[in-house]
């Protein structure tokens, strides 16, 4: 018996059992206490409330919604809003970050100074203040009657009005698939034909891939278009207000801009770090082979910098997705706000918080999983230590 306790494996196993056991006891105690407290307040726990209608409305939704819809539909709307804000915000932040990050690594002194100033300013102002700032700016834009117009889009204090396709929901969802393919296809084609085709030919194949996928998406939209309506619905002034098109509310724009600018300042630093991590030796070798600076950038610096950046970038993306919960500050109905409203109206605090956590965990773990896969696929093979 004594000798068994001295065995390292047995010891580790016992420790594990003890740890899991106490954790389980803790959770169990918490649940029991919570149930008793809730019962005293007359609130029944459980997820039945998901099927009740909410009785309240949301200000922005990509899906059709009324106050009669049940809670689960509202949660779905919240998640989609969060994903919509998240993806637009991340996309813009990446563009801003890339531009500023490249400016910071450029050989041009003015560009470097501008880049540094940008990062210093926007990284050091809290995101919530930036969201308020942009919200104030956007809500002080001209009224619908005096709207700024460009390419069929209208910019007003009530929001940004975009032309929207007159297409049914199913066709809309189906059209997303080829759009996805348009992004994934060239990457995949590029990888599989890397050794078998010259660079120029590969580019043609990739462009053809994108074009085919986009054509497919447009075709689905045309087929799935609502009867007797033009394909695109342009917003227009009717009386005092704008009708038609898709209205992006000021809350959304303010958050997207804030995330783009704030997130961009962090991503800029990641981009700069990635390029600094590229070995000077590899760049010199490429130059000494007669490759032009542009080719050195696309063939050596960029691929190596991306590999250095991706793991940190994934962290940053997860972080920015979580930052979308800032939406509640300016009144954007993201997932977090829907949960907060649910708690107010239904009193199902624990369940709603549980759903909130599960939702964010799912989003962020999926994002991390995707990035892990990319990282693995492009990881440098073999031992990279030299000398």
């Amino acid at each position: 018996m004594i000798s068994l306790l001295r065995n390292q494996k047995v010891r580790n196993a016992l420790l594990q059992v003890f740890y899991v056991g106490s954790l389980a006891a803790l959770v169990l105690a918490g649940v029991v206490i919570a149930r008793r407290n809730l019962a005293e307040q007359g609130i029944t726990s459980g997820f039945d409330f998901l099927y009740k209608s909410t009785g309240w409305d949301v200000s922005f939704s990509l899906l059709p919604v009324t106050a009669n819809d049940p809670y689960w539909w509202f949660f779905l709307i919240g998640i989609i809003n969060t994903l919509f804000l998240g993806s637009i915000g991340l996309l813009l932040a990446t563009v801003v970050g890339t531009v500023v990050g490249l400016a910071r690594t450029s050989s041009n002194e003015l560009a470097r100074l501008l880049g540094r100033t940008y990062v210093d300013i926007f990284r050091n102002i809290p995101l919530i203040l930036q969201a308020f700032f942009w919200y104030a700016i956007i809500t002080h834009l001209p009224t619908p009657r005096a709207a700024h117009e460009a390419w069929g889009m209208l910019l007003t204090s009530r929001g940004l009005y975009l032309p929207a396709p007159n297409v049914g929901g199913v066709a809309m969802a189906l059209a997303i698939l080829p759009l996805f393919a348009a992004v994934a296809l060239p990457v995949w084609l590029g990888r599989t034909s890397r050794l078998s085709r010259p660079v120029g030919e590969r580019l043609v194949i990739q462009l053809a891939g994108i074009a085919a996928a986009l054509a497919c998406a447009v075709l689905i939209l045309i087929v799935g278009r609502l009867p007797d309506a033009p394909l695109l619905d342009f917003p227009a002034l009717q009386g005092l207000n704008l009708k038609g098109g898709l209205r992006i509310p000021p809350e959304f724009s303010a958050l997207a801009v804030a995330i783009a600018i704030y997130g961009g300042s962090y991503i800029a630093e990641i981009v700069r770090g990635g390029f600094k991590a590229v070995g000077k030796g590899q760049v010199e070798a490429a130059l000494s082979l007669g490759l032009s600076p542009w080719r050195v950038f696309t063939l050596v610096k960029l691929p190596l910098a991306l590999r250095a950046m991706l793991p940190i970038l994934a962290n940053q993306y997860v972080w920015l997705i979580k930052a979308t919960t800032m939406g509640i500050a300016v009144g954007f109905t993201d997932f977090f706000m829907i949960v907060a409203l649910t708690i107010n109206h239904s009193g199902q605090t624990l369940e709603a918080i549980g759903i909130l956590m599960a939702g964010f965990l799912t989003i962020n773990l999926s994002l991390a999983a995707v990035f892990n896969r990319i990282n693995k696929a492009i990881a440098l093979k073999g031992n990279q230590l030299r000398g």
């Binding site: 590899q282 130059l287 082979l289 032009s292 440098l380 073999g382 990279q384 030299r386």
Partner: protein, 251 residues
């Protein structure tokens, strides 16, 4: 200095000066290398050997004097720089292979993009040179999966695939274990015997004795001694050279 002024010189360096900020790294360097000539450059650390050969393909920009490579003057003209880099191959101390490309891709990328060679031709050339440096079986591996000696031989093959007229070597063996040094030097000896114009910074004095037409000794940014190997090793005039040689050969 016995720099010959024939028009056919592969590399001609005249009154070369190079500063890093206020630091005078190269002082009035003169050197002329004929086509097919093999030059070994040696000297203590910090004497400017790397700086000099890196000026020849403009990895460093010189501040004074003239460098002419294969009849083209190396100046701010981008066309001249590109033209010279196409004809001058370089091998580095730390190999500097592209870690995200296979060995074959490392060797094919420049011929395909710079020389606009069709893929099949570039691949055939790459395989031929990999054969020559005796690692044809590693073609589809990545640099990180090779030993140091193998990586350096890939680096030599990569430079040769551009079919350059001149090869620069900057301490190609000093990051390698002794048994790998031999395999890299073997390749370099073969290359020399085929008539390649070579400028090698190295402290491998056995190699210098075997292949060099001239050995150059640098110190403090200057060329202090320049002689054929037998003369260089037996009867050098300069005190610093003697001291250096006793250190390199002394054990």
């Amino acid at each position: 200095m016995n720099s010959t002024q024939s028009p056919g010189a592969a590399v001609r360096i005249e009154n070369l000066d190079k500063y890093y900020g206020t630091f005078h790294a190269l002082r009035n360097v003169n050197l002329s290398v004929e086509r097919g000539e093999k030059i070994v450059v040696c000297g203590p650390s910090g004497s400017g050997k790397s700086t000099m050969i890196r000026c020849i393909n403009r990895l460093e920009q010189h501040n004074g004097g003239r460098i002419t490579v294969l009849g083209t003057e190396l100046n701010d003209d981008v066309g001249n720089i590109d033209g010279i880099r196409r004809e001058v191959g370089m091998v580095f101390q730390h190999f500097n292979l592209f870690p995200h490309m296979t060995v074959l891709e490392n060797c094919m990328i420049a011929p395909m993009i710079v020389r606009k060679r069709p893929r099949a031709e570039a691949e055939a050339t790459a395989r031929r040179y990999l054969e020559k440096v005796r690692i044809p079986e590693q073609a589809t591996k990545f640099p990180g999966q090779l030993s140091g000696g193998q990586q350096q031989r890939v680096a030599i093959a990569r430079a040769l695939c551009m079919q350059p007229q001149i090869m620069l070597f900057d301490e190609p063996t000093s990051a390698l274990d002794p048994e790998m040094i031999a395999e890299v030097l073997d390749v370099m000896v073969t290359l020399a015997s085929e008539g390649m114009t070579m400028i090698c910074v190295t402290h491998e004095m056995g190699f210098a004795r075997r292949v060099a037409d001239r050995v150059i000794f640098m110190d403090g940014g200057e060329i202090v001694e320049e002689a054929p190997p037998e003369e260089f090793f037996t009867s050098c005039r300069n005190e610093r050279t003697r001291q250096f040689l006793s250190q390199v050969l002394g054990h």
